[in-house]
């Protein structure tokens, strides 16, 4: 592989736009001639760009087992994402990737009981793994999903969670929202506390993604429950430009998030400087 192939993007076209929450939309992207622009592993990312506006890294939220298209769940929070949110079906964008290491679904995760803990838009990278695991059900043990958000309107992929995940055997979904809300009869409270309340079996493998503060407290809670850091995985995000470990800005210590990450095991994070 060389940079000429990776820095010069390919073209994609938006074939569907789904409004998930007031500030999150999920875009379906196809190659111009249909099909996927490229294949990827769960947890890997892609650089999306609108020429003249900017380029940024987004995690691919659809599962690799989906052979028809890729999906990106994008929260509106900056210049480029604002622009992306204005896109309609038929809009072409540039796309390059896949970047990063992805989750070790074929090695460390194999045969394990998995617990997914997500907060807000943090579900986006995990959804890829969850659906991958669902499609290869025999390879994995039980699946628990703890997902929390500010309010029930802010739950991403709510329809898929209710219609598919909740109904599937061997998958337990625990939803929570931060504050009481009319029409919500589920759990109310912050994710880290909920995880502690649920008190998972300590031989399970945990995958966390969400706001840094949520990751920090969930991790502390898991350790209290008796988990070891080697059982916990998370995925990081920093400013990136090249995606191939050369432009020099997404490093945490000697590791580049774009190349050596974005997925890190929590004991690896301990060996890295606290600069993220």
């Amino acid at each position: 592989m060389n940079v000429q192939e990776t820095l010069i993007p390919k073209l994609g076209v938006v074939t569907d736009v789904r409004i998930d929450t007031p500030d999150v939309k999920t875009f379906r992207v196809n190659a111009l001639d249909g099909g996927k622009v490229f294949d990827h592993m769960p947890g890997q990312c892609a650089m999306l760009s609108i020429p003249g506006v900017g380029e940024a890294m987004f995690s691919i939220t659809s599962s690799p087992t989906n052979t028809e298209f890729m999906e990106f769940s994008i929260k509106k929070c900056g210049c480029l994402t604002n622009w992306l949110h204005q896109m309609e079906v038929g809009q072409q964008i540039t796309i390059r990737g896949p970047y990063g290491n992805g989750f070790p679904v074929d090695t460390e995760f194999k045969g394990k009981d998995l617990v997914f803990v997500a907060g807000g838009i943090g579900l986006a990278p995990l959804r890829s793994v969850i659906n991958y695991v669902r499609d290869n059900r025999a390879d994995y043990g039980t699946v628990d999903i703890v997902y929390g958000s500010r309010s029930m309107d802010d739950l991403v992929d709510y329809k898929e969670i209710i219609d598919e995940w909740c109904k599937e055997e061997g998958i337990n979904v625990y939803l929570t929202i931060d504050r009481e809300q009319e029409g919500w009869d589920g759990h109310v409270g912050f994710v880290p506390n909920y995880v502690k309340e649920l008190g998972f079996d300590t031989n399970k493998t945990v995958i966390i993604c969400g706001p840094p503060i949520m990751i920090k407290f969930t991790l502390a809670g898991l350790i209290e429950l008796g988990f070891d850091k080697t059982q916990v995985y998370t995925t990081m995000e920093l400013k990136m430009k090249c995606g191939v470990g050369k432009c020099g800005r997404c490093n945490i210590g000697a590791k580049y998030v774009c190349k050596d990450g974005p997925v890190f095991r929590c004991d690896q994070l301990d060996e890295m400087p606290n600069e993220y």
């Binding site: 020429p51 380029e55 309609e88 050369k246 432009c247 800005r249 490093n251 000697a254």
Partner: protein, 340 residues
Amino acid sequence: MKQIKLDSIQSLFKALSATRTLYLPVDTPAGADFKKYEDGVLWSGALNTNRSAKDFFFPQTENMMDFKVEGKTIEIIEPIRPDEDFVVFGVRACDARSFELLDKVFLCDPVDTYYKNRREHGVIVTVCCNKPAETCFCTNFGIDPTAPGGDVACWQDADTLYLQANTEAGEALLQSAADVLAEADDSAADGVKETVKAIMAKLPIQNLDLSAFTEDNLLNLFGSEQWKKLSEACLGCGTCTFVCPTCQCYDIKDFDTGHGIQRFRCWDSCMYSEFTRCAHGNPRLSQVERFRQRFMHKLVYFPANNNGDFSCVGCGRCLAKCPISMNIVKVIKALGGANE
């Protein structure tokens, strides 16, 4: 080994520039810089150029591609790759080593073809430093200024330039200038080498203790209390970065030309406040963190990823150019332990 009298050096430049573009250090009102050779251009005797020679392979700005956007459609236009053969004359040992370090970044998988293309089209002619200055500290990084490397290495005494090819490309280059070159004894430059070695031995910063800069010591160094004091006066400008031969961080930007979008890359500096800023915030909020990043990268992170090679070649440009005279030598002495 070949030789040519210095008073007929112009004939060498003419011969070299006959088949390809020749760049060499030329004096400007404010120090030397690499310029294209044309008739009458004189080779500068300066120890080093203001800017390093990295420009030739990693230019400050470089167009990567163009886009045509119409309505909802986008067209990608790849740029024409420069295919000009060129030779850079008068590179010093430190800059020559910097290419090896840049290679480690740009030529590792995935290969940066923009860089590789330039690298393949360039021939490097190095010249041994006759008068190393007190700001030189290349020897700390295993560089021998009397064996400057490159495709062709040169040594110069009072009236003669000696040339020795190190690679096939260098042989070919010397062949192309065979008419103006005379044969010389292989030991002809030994006198110069001895003189330079004697000068190096007398210079002040030749024995820096770098033993503390190891991957095992990463978190200790990162957490050192000294960074605050060291970075206190730092202005957050990019002088050190941009004159540095090994700094390679870049930015990718889009420019709207009015009739299309140009995507180009340009040098960027980790010293700049916007370097790591993104929509969710900035992990390096103050100059302390940015300053630390630059030196940790050169002394710890880069070696950790590249078999222990430091990302510094001791050229001394940052020592001479920093507006507030804070530099890597002071950092090494402050954090290196035995340097205290």
